[in-house]
Amino acid sequence: MQNEIVIAGFGGQGVLFAGQVLAYAAMDSDKEVTWIPSYGPEMRGGTANCTVIIADEEIGSPLVRNPQAVIAMNLPSLDKYEPLIVEDGTLIVNKSLVNRSIARKDLQSVLIPANEMAESLGDKRLTNIIMVGALLAQQPVLPIDAVENALRDHLPERHKKLLPLNYQALRAGEEFVKKELMGENI
């Protein structure tokens, strides 16, 4: 059994770190895991993607053509990955930077105003963690407290003071989706 998650956005959105948090959590839960930044033509700036694969057995390819879940932090990422997700896969979209609805009907998708939520929590940099929380609510690839521990153990020193906020962000993302699923976010 293998989970493949792509997190995509542009530089500065904490895309790579979000993926690493999942990877740490998976490792601490004794899973096999790979994290790999994806290569694009541009050598710097522009888009930033990473692929995280979580599995019970030895992982083969660290990259997949059709991931099971995608976190799209902006419009270009949505446009690029929506068509690639496996059938009935999961798609978490940062509504704040996306002005369109999701075309595919088979997907389990959520549009979440992550930027606004982050700002209301008091720090724009929390957007990525909110999205992770949302993912885990939509598709529980890992127990959420494993991710909390990962944050605790691996948040860069200089951001340690932000730990409580990160917990909140994670839960906020989770809550949002739960409500969504219960049809409460109207």
């Binding site: 541009e42 050598m43 710097r44 700036g45």
Partner: protein, 258 residues
Amino acid sequence: MGSNPTVEMVYKRPDTFTEVSTHYCPGCTHGVAHRLVAEVLEEMKLQDVTIGVASVGCSVFAYNYFDCDFVEAAHGRAPAMATGIKRVLPDRVVFTYQGDGDLASIGMAEIVHAAARGENISVIFINNANYGMTGGQMAPTTLPGQKTTSSPGGRDIEQTGFPIRTAEMLATLEGAGYIVRRSLHDPKNIRKAKKSIRLAFETQVRGLGFSMVELLSTCPTNWGINPVESLHWIEERMIPYFPIEDFKVSASVSQIRV
């Protein structure tokens, strides 16, 4: 006394530039150096006879921006490649555009010998005190104590010696016709820099030997400061070690009036 005004265009993007947006980081003065070369090619009407030699560094894509023939050299070998071109096409104008890692580190033998031979080419040498493209490692031009990704504790002169003053060193060679250092950190210096680039190409067109303009340039991204602060960094940190001077102006070059 009144006057009915007419409009004049004081500055416009040179035609020798392609309509391509550069890949350089915002505020990186590689772009200024490009612009100055493009302006000189335009003023001297050399566009159709010029062959540029891009090097390996952030300027690796330089050939996308100049609207003239171009080749892309191996890391450090631009002067050798330029020599090959110039020797078979002596009536063409050949210039290389090289960073400090490319020219002063891996390419040291090629630049010294091109200068020693008095190879009739022009070299635009961008000194930004580090290796930009690969993520800000130490270059031969990195200042003492300067932190880079390969000198995390700051450049230790005990271990790695002092920065190389390339222009000064090459100026000791007979073959050098025109070798100066300029800076891109303010309008006045940019004007001086352009004049020198012009002189470098004039030197070549007149067959007066090897010419090189070393340009102090910013790397905001790897220096970790914003573009404006970067200009100050050149002025306060680099210029004291890398003086803005003429190191070699051969008798015949000094005759040139532009």
